[in-house]
Symmetry: C2
Subunit: 195 residues, 2 copies
């Protein structure tokens, strides 16, 4: 069985989900299709000019505290980024362009750690390249490929597909046509896929 | 240890939380302070003229499917109400005015079942009275008391307190100054209270 994991590198709750999903899926014999997308166009379609956590500050204030507790419960480090939301377009293009590469899951985790643990600017080519190099890859060549018109178009199309299939936030898991939203639904989605 | 359970009778996810919380709290030796409030004034403060599930239809569509799955997982009946959100002011006044009555938890569950299982109009005095009578109470007298100026003021003040303390949705659990939002956080809040 295969599930689709839809993630956005700026999304806070996608971080613990991305850190946990591979082990959870492996323990159930489920494989993962890694689907990067951008939330900006989806939020704008809903009339939101920014992350809902910024549009509704009282919700944002809660989210930051809840993230501390959530990461602590699953034992992953967390530091509130000094910029939120960060622009995740470049690493999303890489993730979209190289979605089947064996190093992809490690790259996804490295970018999330850069944003939500190390407080690094994930829109910077130097940061993205460093994440790739640390995985033994040719960072410069990968970034070049991910900036070609076809790669840009692939991410645009994947974001349009997300919107068309009813995704409105991240992380989201699709099991066939069944949508599960949020780090809180990860286990339920995986249980569903094993039905 | 005592926790505060903040609920709104129109709120979908408050339904499974209200059905589950008493047993979960009892199993941990925790007691519950039942705090009814209204979300309308809080949403309006955020610039939302209606439930976020109506303002953002794609999120609402997801919520209804998620509610089906969530209620099925915890084995409680669920039928999508023909009106959403329903006006829960009258039962909230009752719950606020009689928050310490021994029949209160049963009343809360009865109103939620009326809304989310039986599809009844919980703003109707007849429906509220029926819920009270079924619990062996003098429904007419209780409803009369809950409509007195002091009772109305108590609910207004409780809603203002919710806003002042950073609540933005329901259900919410407060453990001291620690806020937990959503049916998904019920177990975590209770674990926190037992720390």
């Amino acid at each position: 069985m295969k599930i689709e994991f839809w993630f956005e590198f700026a999304s806070t709750y996608s971080y613990p989900a991305a850190m946990r999903i591979e082990a959870l899926a492996a323990s159930r014999g489920v494989s993962i299709s890694w689907r990067a997308f951008l939330l900006g166009p989806i939020f704008r379609e809903q009339g939101l000019p920014d992350s809902p956590f910024n549009v509704f500050p009282v919700k944002g204030q809660y989210m930051w505290r809840d993230m501390e507790r959530t990461c602590s419960r699953v034992d992953i480090p967390f530091r509130r980024p000094s910029v939120f939301p960060r622009n995740g377009m470049l690493p999303a293009r890489v993730a979209c362009c190289f979605s089947d590469a064996p190093w992809l899951p490690g790259f996804v985790r490295a970018i999330y750690c850069a944003n939500f643990d190390k407080d690094l600017d994930i829109s910077s080519p130097a940061v993205v390249e460093q994440c790739l190099t640390a995985l033994g890859q040719d960072g410069a060549a990968i970034i070049e490929a991910a900036q070609m018109p076809a790669a840009k178009e692939k991410l645009r199309a994947q974001t349009a597909e997300a919107m068309q299939r009813g995704l409105f936030g991240a992380p989201s898991v699709m099991v066939g046509s069944e949508l599960f939203w949020g780090n809180d639904r990860l286990e339920e989605a995986l249980d569903w896929s094993a039905k």
